[in-house]
Symmetry: C2
Subunit: 424 residues, 2 copies
């Protein structure tokens, strides 16, 4: 099948998914989990072929580690499929119910988006996660994985297609696997056919997708996050939050890259530096007069290290901190430490980021920790979904009106008028 | 100022608008209304210069009519500014309030989008409407009007800038007028700076904007809407709904372009045709065996006439009607006439359009009639806002977390766990 035919098949299946019951979608997910558990050897064998090729090709450490599956990683995949079944159905919810006039009722109902394209890098568990969230939310999914995981992705896709075919044959087109690099180009051009793109992978991948398609893209390229230590900060709390925000998992998007410190509390810097000896600090000139460290330049304020490196800048006011964050940050996640409610409230309102925190670690900015059940990704865009995105981010709404032959002419000519009464 | 400087000024003002009170934003709108009322002669004189140039240039009938202002049109503008003041503040609403753990609170709060670009054609009232909705919702607006209304737009913008300057000088950058055609190109490239584009005008304008920018576009290019007369339709209701949906205001996007009729009730066609003698009917072959009319071809199913023309197709089933609508329609607004609840429910769920109606005219699909207060536009996109869009469509959300020094390490290492309790 050509990519066009695959996307057309996905669209047709999307119409059927949109009207399928939650039970039917959950049955499909349970069948996928069972088949993945019972046929794990097929997947592990395919993964070993990918791993072998990767070793021959000299694939680097962390990428190789993400590629290779194990029995326990497979158990986690099976578990994650079952946990998606347990989530509440995101479809059918009435967002609005309003009487427009006697016998004329408006509802706004949550429905699937339609066809979602997902482009992901080496990690094969991304396929499992996004396929399951897609089906749960009634969307068809076009999947394009990295070439280094080609055999694994094929094996997973074949198993899932079999599980769907055995449980709900009318939905078998719900997952479409696209394999070649040329096909990505074809996918990105289908802005009339694909409703949303979700890139899962490096900043470069996300930026590439954002710049090469007119399809709306959900996600974020950069995670340049800040912790601002306010004049009214408690030293012990500032030290603990800086350490947690930087080192609890430095490779992720919600770890901080820059620490901003109010000049009046720059005396806290030695304790902050001492609390994380594994971290390389890069400071502005004033920082370097307080603690010994490498110099930071303009580029550092714009860099996502994703590593044990932290840039530090001393600022003279809350205003300067907010301006720095809005200028150099990536509008992802930023936090303030202070016991001044007034300073905190100004920070939370003025920082233009998807998550803002007061006296809490930036690492909390995450779908699971926020209680969303599952995370589709974190969006720094302001359109559609912003911040950690759960299943609701894979839905849109539809207005439905039921009447008894109501005509607009009667309202335009004053014979009838609207009641606009909200219903429970 | 260059376009870049104007957009940068808008961004800075947007930060101030985002933290401004509803009272302050309403005061600005009231000042705009008062100044427009008291300085109406300036606007009318500017408009007369545009109208003169238009007459010299031979501008066509309906476009000229839209361009020319009158005292009563100005009264309507002043009224519309005051009615926006009366709308509830769309900002600050808590969409989510959740306890994550003891002392760790998550809220999701409605905030402005930021900087919105609006490109509109001859109608100068579009400037007033979008400027007022933008300020009400805390957004800065880049305005680009048609060159034929240049003098009028300048006069309106100057008055509004004066009103803002006299009431809230810190917000004076909220409305930026962009004038030249070259500047549109510059605006469309600023996808890092402008958060949302709203084109107001012809299908060609909307399509051009959609195809020439990576900024998300809110709106719809086409309104190819359908009424389906089901096998279980009441004849009198079918006749009345067809007539209202087609002729109550044929030039607008939610008027129908195609009537689909179930074969078993094709006997209703003569009464439908007789009810609107002013309409030109174009029918499929089977239609033409029942009523006399011009032939319809494939192109007709894809055409938005925006005029007193209606294409008619006889179908053999609800499935065929739904498939036709999903294939040829523009996913805008479609209706079914039937007294079968089962047929209606299938139609409402299976038709993939922003508004679907049962036994009601397609002309109801409109922000005012839906009770949204004001209408920003009607979106056929599935991302962000879909269907008639009110003030909420000009907002996004922000996650705000407040803690007491909470660290992620405590949860990752099992010393604490999440409560995830919804708060009232």
């Amino acid at each position: 099948m050509s990519v066009h035919e695959q996307v057309a098949a996905a669209r047709q299946t999307a119409y059927r998914l949109a009207v399928s019951s939650a039970t039917r979608r959950n049955d499909v997910l349970l069948a996928m989990a069972s088949l993945l558990a019972s046929e794990r050897e097929t997947v592990l064998a395919a993964n070993e072929r990918d791993a072998h090729a990767a070793r021959e090709g000299g694939l680097a450490g962390p990428l190789y580690k993400r590629l290779v599956l194990s029995d326990s990683k497979l158990d986690t995949m099976v578990e994650s499929l079952r946990s998606v079944v347990a989530l509440p159905d995101p479809l059918g919810e009435q967002v609005v119910a309003r009487e427009l006039d006697d016998g004329l009722l408006l509802t706004q109902v949550r429905v699937p988006i339609g066809v979602i394209g997902v482009i992901f890098e080496s990690r094969p568990d991304a396929l499992v996660q996004i396929a399951s969230l897609g089906i749960k939310s009634g969307n068809a999914v076009i999947l394009k994985g990295g070439s280094e995981a080609r055999e694994t992705n094929r094996a997973l896709h074949a198993l899932f297609a079999r599980a769907i075919g055995e449980t709900a044959p009318e939905l078998v087109g719900a997952l479409q696997l696209v394999e070649t690099r040329e096909e990505i180009g074809a996918v990105l051009e289908l802005d009339e056919e694909i409703d949303l793109m979700i890139p899962r992978g490096s900043n470069e991948l996300v930026r590439y997708i954002q710049q090469h398609t007119r399809i709306p893209v959900l996600g974020h390229a950069d995670g340049i996050c800040h912790l601002y230590v306010d004049a009214a900060a408690d030293e012990a709390m500032a030290v603990a939050l800086a350490k947690d925000s930087k080192t609890q998992y430095p490779a992720v998007c919600n770890a901080i890259e820059t620490l901003l410190v109010h000049a009046s509390v720059s005396g806290m810097l030695p304790a902050i530096v001492a609390s994380m000896p594994e971290v390389e600090f890069r400071g502005c000139e004033r920082t370097r007069s307080v603690v010994e460290c490498a110099p930071a330049d303009e580029d550092d304020w714009r860099t996502e290290y994703n590593d044990l490196v932290l840039s530090v800048k001393i600022v003279d006011s809350l205003d300067e901190a907010v301006a720095h964050i809005n200028r150099y940050g990536s509008h992802h996640t930023d936090a303030i430490v202070t016991h001044s409610r007034e300073a905190a409230e100004r920070f939370l309102r003025e920082v233009d980021s998807s998550s803002v925190l007061w006296n809490a670690s930036t690492r909390f900015a995450d779908g699971f920790r926020y209680g969303l059940g599952a995370e589709v990704g974190i969006s720094t865009g302001k359109i559609h979904a912003r911040g950690p995105v759960g299943l609701a981010g894979l839905t849109t709404t539809q207005y439905r009106v039921t009447g008894a032959g109501h005509l607009v002419a009667d309202y335009a000519e004053g014979r009838r008028s609207f009641t606009h009464r909200e219903l429970p």
